[in-house]
């Protein structure tokens, strides 16, 4: 039987069915590596115990009585100040809501723009990266959701490609400040996107990306090769670059099909 790391935690917690549990037990009895691993895991699991008193129990009944009221007050204050009190954004939103004809025209125009950007040939990754780093606030809020999503995915892709292509010299640290900063900006941009009505698949990709971005944002200014490698492994395991390319294709398809639709209607 192969090693049983995958089942060890469940085994310790008594979550395995009897047949499985017996297999694990037998393997451990005959495998030193798994036996040692199990001991370490067991000690860790025993040391980290659920808190004897739940944090919420530190709060009074009166506190919990008012909790929902406070939430509702916050709801009424508006979702996020940066979104709701921005007059430009509000105008755009009402424009999007009440003038579907003009929205279609706008989207059509943007589709052309995006096509131009997409097929702009031979721009190297490095150029794009420096371009991205000097760009202003990502959460500008003047683009419709599709375009903003595309923009977010494109920037993320460039960041991840840069990371996968990075070849730091053996045993030396890498300056990570630029990457961390970009990751932070992208996380902010994602927050704004998540507040809007985006499709499920994009939402999931944003979440998956966010985990990598958070790791990146939390990197020390000078990272070691193993840290970089860990993030790269994450990117590979989750097949991130492929997923982003798919999402980009989906976004531009969405734009083009909206534009096509409009042309048909006009005829």
């Amino acid at each position: 039987m192969k090693h049983v790391q995958d089942l060890m935690y469940e085994y310790l917690q008594g979550e395995l069915d009897p047949v499985r549990a017996k297999q694990v037990q037998e393997h451990i009895a005959s495998c030193n590596a798994c036996f040692a691993e199990l001991q370490v895991l067991k000690e860790g699991a025993l040391l980290v115990r659920p808190l004897s008193r739940k944090p919420s129990e530190h709060r009074s009944e009166a506190y919990w009585h008012n909790f929902a009221v406070h939430v509702q007050q916050r709801v009424q204050q508006g979702p996020k100040k940066t979104v709701s009190t921005d007059p430009v954004r509000n105008k755009i939103e009402s424009f999007l809501t009440y003038q579907p004809q003009r929205v279609l025209a706008l989207v059509g125009g943007l589709a052309v723009l995006v096509a131009l950007i997409t097929i702009a040939p031979f721009r190297t990754v490095q150029e794009e990266q420096s371009l991205m780093l000097t760009e202003g606030s990502p959460a500008g809020g003047v683009m419709p959701v599709n375009a903003e999503l595309s923009n977010y995915f494109r920037k993320s892709k460039i960041l991840l490609i840069g990371l996968t292509n990075m070849t730091p010299p053996e045993g030396q640290t890498v300056d990570f400040r630029a990457e961390s900063q970009t990751a932070r900006k992208l996380i902010q941009q994602a927050r704004v996107l998540e507040d809007q009505d985006i499709d499920n698949r994009s939402q999931q990709l944003i979440w998956a990306l966010e985990k990598i971005l958070i790791e990146l944002a939390n990197m020390e200014d000078r990272a070691n090769l193993p840290d970089v490698e860990l993030i790269r492994t994450g990117i590979r395991q989750e097949n991130m670059l492929f997923k982003i390319r798919m999402a980009e294709a989906q976004q531009s398809h969405a734009m083009f099909s909206t534009a096509d639709h409009k042309e048909i209607k006009q005829q």
């Binding site: 040391l47 004897s52 530190h58 509702q72 979702p79 939402q203 999931q204 985990k211 958070i214």
Partner: protein, 185 residues
């Protein structure tokens, strides 16, 4: 809470019922608070994060389609809000550890402070030494006892990734706490 009842409440919220929203908050507020506290290790921050998460729930409930169950969705929102908070905090102080809320201080100085309080404190501190994903997995899977599958849904990663991070996290916790144990006894 029966799933049918929850679905009904969510439907009513989507139709704009504040009453239903309030009911939903009251059903899940302690759960959200406990989870947030596990991440941020501070009562004021836990309150803020949990409330913020519910505000987000209210505004994005229309996009909730119910494939994963409401709790999973809520957990994901609370987890994201908590990680966000930690990141802001780290940027401010450039340090994770901050055990300065009144209760911890009291626990530390109280003569009745027992080993178990001590260990809890060290445990909370050690948890915050873990990398973000390891910490999230240790909290959700080990401390909160959620299934590997649910955790993978909350964190949007594979079950294999959950297991890997759990092992690494618990091993690291062991080495961190072993040191504490030897140092204090």
């Amino acid at each position: 809470m029966p799933a049918a009842r929850e679905r009904e409440i969510i439907l009513r919220i989507k139709e704009g019922s504040h009453e239903a929203f309030r009911e939903l908050v009251e059903m899940h507020m302690r759960q959200a608070y406990d989870l947030a506290y596990g991440f941020v290790n501070d009562h004021d921050d836990a309150e803020d994060v949990a409330q913020e998460a519910f505000v987000k729930v209210f505004h994005s409930i229309k996009s909730f389609r119910g494939e994963a169950g409401f709790s999973t969705w809520l957990y994901r929102i609370v987890t994201n809000a908590s990680l966000d908070r930690l990141k802001q905090r780290k940027r401010k102080t450039n340090r994770y550890v901050r055990i300065d809320n009144p209760e911890s201080m009291q626990a530390m100085t109280s003569t009745a402070a027992t080993d178990s309080i001590d260990l809890t404190m060290h445990m909370e501190r050690a948890l915050h030494e873990l990398p973000t994903l390891q910490r999230a997995v240790v909290i959700l899977r080990h401390i909160d006892g959620l299934s590997t599958r649910t955790v993978s849904e909350i964190l949007q990663c594979s079950e294999g990734t959950v297991k890997t991070h759990l092992h690494r996290g618990l091993k690291k916790m062991r080495s961190l706490l072993q040191f504490v144990k030897e140092g204090t006894s």
